[in-house]
């Protein structure tokens, strides 16, 4: 059996006085020696310089992507409010009730895609509070079976409460609309000009979905709202077909009396609405990127000036300019990449926090995976790298190591 002392892999004298050699007294070789001139060695051991550089990039990335994501939240919120329209093509005969049967017949006959369902409905206007103030919305009046189809089509498989009874002053609303409301809350009332109904309409059901909608019974709508004109909602079998149907319907009735509501039109008008804002934003972000890059360039230049002795010594003992240049650039790339990556991670965390604390309680939407916001940060690391490269190349171009070892430059 082996004793414990035998298991450590070392030789032990069996008898007599132990002999201690110089080898035993020598400090044990460290298990792992970092490569002395590896960029990681410099960056880790000079954390006092690495951290501020990284932090500036992190802040820059957070600033740019945060601004873009918050600005994007405005059109994103608008799209979210009207996203229910992705599931349907709406058409109204614009005040002529006799026209609707003809319209429906034409669509049924000429549709380019299979139609799953056509709902004849009534709608009244309302206002919902959005990120840019009160925004027009509709209260849909549907039959009992259409209500169930519509709610399921909008992705809600569970409801809290029940569906409105035919003709009753009741409504079912989706979860985002129900922010700060609960079952029994009044959403339409006689003395509210923005959300009017002749009798108070109470919430009797809340559908669990992220889509926005408000539904009451078509009988209540017909009894209480003017003009007495029905509208049609046409549903294709899937979103691809729905999109095709949207475009076809808009083109089909272009220049004619009916008015078509299609989701792509909302997308288009939102884009147009914010085009100028994005133009201004691009100018601001560009200016910000230039300032950040300039600042980083100055910081890097200061830090490199503090390393003149190091560069001079290494060049004097035989490191080539290219080797030193490569090393400094690798350090720069590491810091920039680390700062950028950390910036993205922290932005993601910050956006989640902002979404939970600022936006969600008010039913505002914020896309925490906003690709555009993250894409806007891509030029920052490249711009900084270009400035860093330029600064380093300029410094090394006429650098004289003798000046350093003779203490003329330091």
């Amino acid at each position: 059996m082996k004793s414990l002392s035998d298991t450590d892999g070392t030789d032990h004298p069996q008898s007599g006085s132990p002999k201690i050699s110089r080898e035993d007294l020598r400090p044990k070789r460290p298990r792992r020696i970092l490569r002395p001139l590896a960029p990681s060695t410099y960056l880790i051991r000079n954390a006092g310089k690495t951290i501020p550089l990284t932090a500036v990039i992190v802040l820059a990335v957070m600033l740019v992507s945060g601004i873009i994501a918050m600005i994007d939240s405005i059109p994103y919120s608008i799209r979210t409010v009207y996203r229910y329209a992705k599931e349907e093509t709406g058409i109204t005969p614009r005040g002529d009730p006799s026209l609707l049967p003809q319209l429906v017949a034409t669509i049924k006959k000429q549709t380019p895609v299979p139609i799953e369902r056509i709902i004849i409905c009534r709608a009244s206007s309302s206002l919902v509070r959005s990120i840019v103030g009160k925004w027009p919305f509709i209260m849909l009046g549907l039959t009992q079976s259409d209500m169930r189809y519509y709610v399921t089509r909008q992705g809600a498989h569970e409801i809290e409460g029940r569906y409105p009874n035919p003709g009753a002053p009741e409504a079912i609303i989706s979860r985002p609309v129900a922010k700060n409301l609960r079952l029994g809350s009044v959403i339409l009332k006689p003395d509210d000009i923005e959300n009017y109904a002749p009798t108070p309409v109470k919430v009797v059901g809340i559908a669990e979905t992220d889509r926005w909608f408000m539904i009451n019974s078509v009988e209540f709508q017909r009894d209480n709202y003017f003009p007495p004109v029905d509208d049609a909602l046409i549903f294709a079998r899937n979103s691809t077909d729905q999109n095709k149907l949207d475009h076809w319907t808009v083109n089909k009735f272009k220049g004619q009396r009916p008015l078509v509501f299609a989701y792509f039109q909302i997308e288009k008008s939102t884009r147009e609405m914010f085009a100028t804002l994005y133009l201004i934003l691009n100018v601001v972000i560009s200016a910000l990127a230039i300032v950040i890059t300039f600042m980083m360039g100055m910081l890097m230049n200061i830090y490199q000036s503090q390393r003149l002795v190091e560069f001079g010594l290494l060049q004097a003992i035989g490191y080539t300019k290219n080797q030193l240049l490569k090393r400094v650039l690798l350090e720069s790339v590491s810091v920039i990449a680390l700062g950028w990556f950390l910036g993205l991670v922290l932005t993601y965390g910050l956006l989640n926090l902002a979404s939970a604390v600022l936006m969600a309680p008010k039913a505002y939407s914020l896309d925490v995976f906003d690709a555009q916001a993250y894409a806007y940060t891509i030029p920052i690391p490249f711009a900084i790298l270009v400035v860093a490269t330029f600064t380093v190349v300029l410094r090394f171009r006429k650098f004289d190591p003798v000046g350093v070892v003779e203490r003329r430059l330091v």
């Binding site: 110089r22 007294l25 020598r26 400090p27 070789r29 460290p30 020696i33 970092l34 002395p36 001139l37 060695t41 410099y42 051991r45 000079n46 002795v309 190091e310 001079g312 010594l313 290494l314 060049q315 004097a316 003992i317 035989g318 490191y319 080539t320 300019k321 290219n322 190591p401 003798v402 070892v405 003779e406 203490r407």
Partner: protein, 216 residues
């Protein structure tokens, strides 16, 4: 081994040509300890830089093993320095973020010489300071780390530019002796203004006003 042939190093100072070294003919032989002695401003450091390829002569030539250093590019001369030469400068320049051991290893990149570096540090009496950073070392200890750095890889020539300047006499003499004793077959070219540092030199060259004065 190294031969300077009518090597001059001149520079312009306010439109006037000033010679740091002028028409120097000298040979550094294999395995010898050559001392270059001279007062401050005599051009002895400039001569060392010419011989080591850190500077190229404005006229004349410097040959290393028959090859002209002036014909080599900057990169080639750098590679020659790191491969064949070792350097000790006036000031004990070390990289502050590296330990003594890592500072020694810096002189021979891409080679695994940890055992040799540890051995050198031990022979220089720094075995208990291998993992200390420069700020934890005394001036003498720092210069001994520089000596270890210069000796790593047994270079063919060690150039020492006033290596005792930042040390007291006793420590200075100790460093010179260490360099001389541990150069393991390489040549040692040492510049100093203090003749007592060259007691062990095989040959001493004296410089005055950039010109070779006396040869011993």
């Amino acid at each position: 081994m190294i031969t300077a042939q009518a090597a001059s190093l001149a520079y312009l100072d306010q439109g006037r040509t000033v010679y740091a070294c002028q028409e120097i003919d000298i040979e550094v032989k294999a395995n010898e300890f050559l001392g270059i002695l001279g007062p401050s401003g005599s051009g002895k450091s400039s001569l060392l830089y010419l011989l080591s390829g850190l500077k190229i002569p404005t006229s004349g030539d410097v040959m290393y093993n028959g090859s002209s250093l002036t014909r080599l590019g900057d990169e080639e001369r750098s590679r020659l320095r790191i491969r064949e030469f070792g350097f000790v400068f006036q000031q004990p320049y070390l990289l502050g973020y590296l330990t003594s051991l890592e500072n020694v290893l810096v002189s021979k990149p891409n080679e695994s010489r940890v055992d040799e570096a540890l051995d050198l540090l031990e022979r220089l009496g720094l075995d208990h300071k291998t993992h200390r950073h420069p700020h934890e070392l005394s001036g003498g200890e720092r210069q001994r780390v520089c000596v270890a750095r210069a000796l790593l890889g047994s270079p063919k020539v060690i150039f020492a530019d006033e290596p005792t300047a930042a040390l007291d006499h006793k420590n200075g003499l100790g460093v010179v002796r260490l360099l001389n004793n541990m150069r393991s077959g390489g040549s040692l070219v040492m510049v100093t203004h203090d003749p007592s540092m060259l007691d062990e030199a095989d040959r001493i060259v004296r410089l005055a006003d950039g010109r070779l004065d006396i040869l011993n």
